[in-house]
Amino acid sequence: MMSYLVRRLVLGLLVLVVAMLLLFVLIYAVPGDPATIALGPRASEAQKAFFREQMGLDQPLAVQAASFLWNLLQGDFGTDILSQRPVADLVFSALPRTVTLAVAGVVWAALLGVPLGIWAALRPGTFIDWVIGLISTSVVALPAFLMAIYALILFSVTLGWFPAIGAGDPGDLADQLHHLVLPAFAIGVAWVGYIARLVRVSMLETLAQPHVRTYRAFGVPDLRIALRYVLPIAVVPVISVLGVGIGNLLSGAVLVEVVFSRPGLGSLAYDAVISRNFPVLLGAVVVTTALYVAANFIADTLIAWLDPRLAEKG
């Protein structure tokens, strides 16, 4: 078990390094001069050159990559080329926002999707199964930004229940939660459907396994079998999907963050791409990748805990 997790962790670190290298390749491929963008149209060539030199943008890419990684090892994320602030400040102020959003979104989706999936799996082929299937597939289809804007119009503008923008007062937990509701809703809706379908299939498959019959042969009540003994096995694939899902949400929450004007990692990375603010981009991606790795690691740990066979197979 330990070495299984050690392996996952080492693999995660490798993912981080490879992702960074890929990122450098991409940065190389994306045109657009950071100096021009940062200084605006009125800047002279000399000013731009001076700026490039200051920010180390005149170095060969490999040198830039190496020095970025080297500095990163020492905990230095570099400097935002636009506002000259330490990238770490930007990234770590955005980080909790994004993590809470992604986690809240997936958690509420799981809280609703898992019971729906179980319900459908316990009554396969019935009307209920069909209705749950229909609803869950429809919500899977709706892009989050559309859910977001309609949720805004309904709950913020019309009903005035929830604030429309921002992440809430940093010191005020209740306020932050209040601000979290709608974005988490928007981001989670599709996941409700996705999780419900996944849980259903996985439950049906597990219910057909021979050991489930043993429970029934011992008179264990059906609901108890489903919840106590089948679910822990059936959620294994769901958890690994959720691990990846949370990871994706971290960088994929851009649109929802834009709509709710929530300063998060997704929109930070997006803005950085658009303004070719590469130090910020690198910082944001390092952190999202690390979170992705962490989310998967947590998922794997959970799975290893749920299914000891995996841990030994490695």
Partner: protein, 326 residues
């Protein structure tokens, strides 16, 4: 005398969507202290009968006739809810495949405890102690260690012993064992049979033992019931049936047993012909097309059950009361 533990009365079972009954008109009874060996060719309905007794047939399966547990009929006098409560407590099972019968992701101790769910009002320590004792009884040398292990960490023989322990923990009145030793080698099989024989001596109940292996029947069972194509063809005590089989199928089956052939031979006896598909059964005796002794009547008229003695019968026109061999 009290009611038999299990009594089957003209049981017919049809799977949903199947063209014909998988089990037809099977009657036998099983009394306290007895072990009944249920034998017959593959697909003859042995497992189906076991599942019916436990009420674990697939939804939509039609069951006719009566299956009585301690005198009360399943489905009519015993509701599904009640039957569920009987399972595990009064009716125990040992399944065929030890590798898949246990939950792969649960420790053995926890798992056995989960199966004994109705005892959960007792303190956990007591329950665990009981499980430990039982594992020791089925011959596991280090029960504590085993309880902390997962199924994939154990061999088939150990798993099968654990299954037996699980079934016996409840001290069931009726124990149903469906080919529990098929996957095991001879020494392990012998150990398991030993455990079962011991259990039989201590438990105040009856056992239904399904197998293909006549020598196992001989070693463990008191009585035997022979199925062919869903029908009960012969029943009686082990000695009666094995020593003087009255149904030609039983006879043929015994002849096929390589263990009974003392001189090694390359050419093993078989029964000529094939089992008719369940929906294309002949009008007369179901075994007639393969029967070496068949007479004209066999092809025209299905044989009644011939009572050949106390609790001894054969479904054959040619059957006659057994001269009990000394």
């Amino acid at each position: 005398m009290s009611a038999p533990v299990l009594q089957l009365d003209k049981v017919c079972i049809r799977y949903p969507g199947a063209p014909a009954d998988a089990v037809r008109g099977v009657s036998f009874d099983l009394r306290r202290g007895e072990t009944l060996g249920l034998v017959g060719e593959s697909g003859s309905g042995k497992s189906t009968l076991a599942a019916a007794t436990m009420g674990l047939l697939p939804a939509g399966t039609a069951v006719q006739g009566a299956i009585r547990f301690e005198g009360r009929a399943l489905f009519s006098e015993i509701t599904d809810q009640q039957l569920r409560r009987l399972r595990g407590r009064r009716i125990g099972t040992i399944s065929q495949d030890p590798f898949t019968a246990l939950n792969p992701v649960m420790r053995i101790g926890t798992q056995l405890d989960a199966l004994l769910h109705w005892t959960h009002d007792r303190p956990k320590k007591d329950r665990m102690a009981r499980i430990e004792t039982m594992l020791e009884r089925v011959g596991l040398s280090d029960p504590k260690v085993r309880m902390a292990q997962y199924p994939h960490q154990m061999s088939g023989g150990i798993l099968q012993r654990i299954s037996i322990a699980a079934a016996m923990l409840a001290e069931p009145t009726l124990l149903i064992a469906d080919e529990p030793t098929t996957a095991l080698d001879a020494t392990t099989e012998a150990q398991i049979l030993g455990i079962m024989a011991e259990a039989k001596a201590t438990l105040d109940g009856a056992t239904l033992f399904i197998t293909h292996d006549m020598s196992v029947v001989e070693r463990l069972c008191d009585r035997i019931a022979v199925l062919y194509a869903g029908e009960l063809v012969e029943t009686g005590t082990v000695r009666e049936v094995l020593d003087a089989p009255q149904h030609p199928y039983t006879r043929a089956l015994l002849d096929c047993d390589p263990a009974r052939i003392t001189e090694p031979t390359r050419r093993l006896p078989t029964i000529e012909g094939t089992v008719p598909p369940i929906h294309k059964r002949p009008d007369g005796c179901i075994f007639a097309p393969r029967c070496p002794a068949a007479i004209a009547r066999c092809h025209a008229e299905a044989p009644e059950r011939h009572e050949l003695g106390p609790r001894r019968s054969a479904a054959c026109h040619l059957a006659s009361p057994t001269p009990v061999t000394p």
